[in-house]
Symmetry: C2
Subunit: 428 residues, 2 copies
C-alpha cells in the first residue's frame, strides 16, 4: 500500500472504485452504530449498580453530621461528599459545592451568574459591559461552545498544541483585550484530543495578566481520573498555583461523576476560591434550597474516598482501553501508512481526534451517516460548528460493544479513504 500522493489519477480512480464497492457493501448491511457522544456503555454502568441499593432504613440516610439527607438543608452538600471531592481535586471542602447531576449545568449557571451578577465580588455584571468574548481552544467541546453561542458571547478560536492551548496566543489576547472574560479548558485528556496540559502550560495559566479583572478560566476537569493506562498523565493543580496570588479568584473548576458512576444520575461539583464560592452560594441560595443529598451519600458510601474512586476507575479503563486500542490499531494499520490523516493517541478521556486532509471532514460525516453510522457532526469541535479547514472528526469509542467498534472503524476508514480520494482526484 502506497501513499495516495504517489498515485496517478487513473490509479486513484481505480482505488476509489474498489473502495466505493466496499462502501456499498457496508451500506447494504444497514447497520446502525453510534460513535457520536462520550457515553459509557452498559458494562461500565453495571460496575456501580451497587450504589443504587442502599438506604433500606431511615438511619442509612443520615449524613455524618446527622443531617437527614431525605429532607431539606445543606445548600453546599453533605460534609463527607465535600471531603471526598476536595481530596480528588486537591483543594479544601470550603472551596467547593457539591450539586446536582450535571457539571454542564453548573458551567451554564456559572456563566449566567457572571452575566447577571458579575464574575467576582463587587464586579460589574458581564451583561452590563457590552460585547464580551471567550477564548475557545480548538478543537474543543461542542457543549462549551453552545453555552457561549446561546448566551451571545463571542468566541475566538485558539489553536491547541500537544501541550494544551497555544499559550502565546492566550497570553497576548487575554492581556490586551478587556472584553475577553473567559476561556474554556478541558485540561486533562482534553475533549476531543486527549491532550493533557503540560506543567508549563498550567504555570502560564496561573501567571496570566488579564486585561479584565473579571476574566475567568473555566477549568472543566471532566477527565481528571479517567486514565486508560496505569501510567497516567499528570496535571498540575491550577487552583493550588493561584492560591495567594493576584489571580486567586481567576478559576472556576468543574468536575462530575458522570463517567465514574452514572451519566444520568451522578454528582457534579464546582470549585473555586473562598471568595468566589461565597458569592456563588449567596446567589445559589436564592435558586435552590439544596441538591439531592441522598445521591451524594450513595456515592460516598460506595467510593469511600479518593483512593476508592481511583481504584474503581481502573475497572472502567479495563473496559474502555480495548475499544480505544481497536480504533487506533486499525488507524495505524490502514490510515497511517497513507499519510492522509493525523490522529491523537490519548491515554485517557473519552475521545480520539482525527484530522483528515482539509475539506474532507464533512464528506466523511455524510458518508458515515449514509451508511447508518452516527458520528459527532463534522465542525462540532469548533465554535459555531465551523471548522475553518473542515478536517477535524471526533471519535467516541466508548459506547458500542467492541465488535461494533471494529465494524464502525472499518467503515470509518473506508469513508476517510473515499473522501480523501474524491478530494485528490478533483484537485488533479
Amino acid at each position: 500500500m502506497l501513499p495516495y500522493q504517489t498515485l496517478d489519477k487513473k490509479d486513484l480512480q481505480k482505488e476509489y472504485d474498489k473502495l466505493w464497492e466496499a462502501y456499498q457493501a457496508y451500506r447494504a448491511r444497514k447497520l446502525s452504530l453510534n460513535m457520536a457522544r462520550g457515553k459509557p456503555d452498559t458494562a461500565q454502568l453495571d460496575l456501580t449498580q451497587e450504589i443504587l441499593t442502599s438506604f433500606s432504613t431511615s438511619a442509612d440516610c443520615l449524613a455524618e453530621d446527622g443531617t437527614d439527607c431525605r429532607n431539606y438543608g445543606l445548600l453546599d452538600g453533605i460534609p463527607e461528599a465535600k471531603r471526598l471531592f476536595a481530596e480528588l481535586l486537591g483543594n479544601t471542602p470550603e472551596e467547593l459545592i457539591v450539586c446536582g447531576n450535571s457539571s454542564l449545568n453548573l458551567m451554564y449557571d456559572t456563566v449566567v451568574r457572571c452575566l447577571l451578577y458579575g464574575a467576582g465580588k463587587d464586579e460589574t455584571p458581564w451583561i452590563r459591559q457590552g460585547k464580551i468574548k471567550f477564548l475557545c481552544p480548538v478543537p474543543g467541546y461542542d457543549r462549551h461552545f453552545a453555552i457561549c453561542e446561546s448566551l451571545g458571547i463571542e468566541m475566538i478560536n485558539v489553536p491547541m498544541t500537544e501541550n494544551g492551548p497555544d499559550m502565546d496566543t492566550v497570553e497576548r489576547l487575554v492581556s490586551s483585550d478587556s472584553a475577553i472574560k473567559g476561556i474554556w479548558c478541558v485540561p486533562k485528556y482534553s475533549n476531543p484530543e486527549g491532550v493533557t496540559y503540560s506543567d508549563e502550560t498550567v504555570r502560564r495559566f496561573a501567571a496570566l495578566k488579564p486585561a479584565a479583572r473579571d476574566f475567568r478560566v473555566f477549568w472543566d476537569n471532566a477527565y481528571l481520573v479517567h486514565d486508560l493506562y496505569d501510567e497516567k498523565d499528570s496535571l498540575l493543580s491550577l487552583s493550588s498555583l493561584i492560591k495567594g496570588t493576584e489571580n486567586a479568584n481567576m478559576v472556576f473548576e468543574f468536575f462530575s461523576t458522570s463517567k465514574i458512576s452514572f451519566p444520568g444520575a451522578g454528582v457534579a461539583v464546582i470549585a473555586s476560591s473562598h471568595e468566589n464560592i461565597d458569592k456563588i452560594k449567596s446567589i445559589m441560595t436564592v435558586q435552590t434550597i439544596g441538591y439531592n443529598k441522598l445521591n451524594m451519600l450513595r456515592h460516598v458510601q460506595y467510593f469511600k474516598n479518593a483512593e476508592g474512586v481511583l481504584s474503581h476507575m481502573k475497572r472502567h479503563a479495563a473496559l474502555l482501553r480495548p475499544k480505544f486500542e481497536a480504533v487506533l490499531e486499525a488507524f495505524d494499520k490502514e490510515l497511517a501508512p497513507l499519510g492522509i490523516v493525523s490522529y491523537t493517541k490519548p491515554r485517557g478521556g473519552y475521545f480520539i481526534s482525527l484530522n483528515t486532509l482539509p475539506g474532507c471532514a464533512k464528506r466523511v460525516y455524510t458518508l458515515m451517516a449514509d451508511a447508518g453510522m452516527t458520528m459527532t457532526q463534522a465542525g462540532a469541535t469548533f465554535p459555531y460548528g465551523k471548522d475553518p479547514e473542515d478536517k477535524n472528526l471526533r471519535i467516541a469509542p466508548s459506547y458500542p460493544p467492541l465488535a461494533e467498534i471494529r465494524s464502525a472503524t472499518e467503515i470509518l476508514i473506508c469513508a476517510i479513504k473515499l473522501a480523501t480520494l474524491e478530494k485528490l482526484i478533483a484537485e488533479m
Copy 2:
C-alpha cells in the same frame, strides 16, 4: 377571660406581669424548637423509604421506552414520569418537563430565561426592556420574593383575600402597566395562608388582558395534592382554561414531589404551553444533557399513577392534621376570645398564617427567638422582608413532633399576648 380592650392600664399591666413570669419560666427551660420552614418530619419521610431500595439489577433501570436511566439522554424526562405528572396536573406529557429535585430551581431558572432570552417565542428579553416588575400577592412565599429581589425585579404588593389575590387590583395593574411581567401565585393552599383560589379568581386570571404580551403567571402549584382532610379544596385548572385563547402562553406552572416523597431528593416539574415548552427545551438543552432519570423512575415505580400519589397523600395528612389541629385548637381556646389576632384555618398545605395587632409581629418573633423558638422571620411573607403593618406571622407546624408543637404553641401564645399587651399599654 375578657378581651384586653376592656381592661384598664393597671389590669393590663397585671396580666402582662403574670405572662412575663410564665415567659421567663419558658425561657428557663432552654428549649430549641423550630416552626420556621415547611419541612416534613421524619415520620413523613419514612412513608416513602421503599422508594430508595429499587434497582438491584440493570434491567430495573430501564424506562418503559428502553432508555437506560443510568445513562445520558431524554432531556425532558422519562415517558412514564411525564405521563404521571400530566395526569396529576391535568395536562399532557408534551406540556411538561420533568427535571431535578427542586421546583424553586425551576422557577429561578425560568425567570432567568425570561430575562436573557425573552418570555416567549420571538419576545424581547426582559433584561432589554428596562425596569420590570412582578406582582406579589401578600402575604406570600419568601423564596418567590427572593428571586425577584436577587434579579433586580421590582415587586408590587397585591393584597390576598379569602378567594386569592385581589383580582380588581391584579386586573387594573396588569392591564395598565407593560412593565409588569409576572405574578407569583400559590393557587392551592397558598403559602402562608392556606387559601385556595376560587373558581372566579382562576377564571379572572385566564381572562386577564395584560398590557405586556410577555406577561407570565408563575403558578406554583406546590400544594396541589397536599390536602389535610378528605373534603378537599378544589382548584380550577388554569392551563385548561387558557388553552386555545390568546392567553395560551401566559402561564408557567410548577410542581414537585418535595412534600410527597423527599424534600431533598424528589422530582420537580415545569408545565406550560407547547410553544413555551419548546422554547424552554431549546435553551435547556444547552444547560444540561438531562436530569436524574433514575430518581424519576424510582418515583413512578413507587407511586404508579395519580391515584397512587393521592392515596399516599392521605398518609401524610394523617400525620400532619393533628399538628395543625393542635395549633389551631390552642389558638381557638387562648387567642380567639381575646380578639387580638386573626388566623387562617387551612385545609391543606404547610402553613398557618396569623395576624397580630399592627406593630406586634417583630416583637413576637424576638420574644420567641429569645426563648429558643425559631419562627419564620417576621416580615418574610412580604417583598423585601417588609410587612407594612408588622403583623403577619407564618407558622409551620409540620416538622416538630406533636408534643413539641404543643409546647411551642403555648409559648407562641404567651409571646403574642405579651407583644399585644406591650402595645396596648404603650398606647394608653
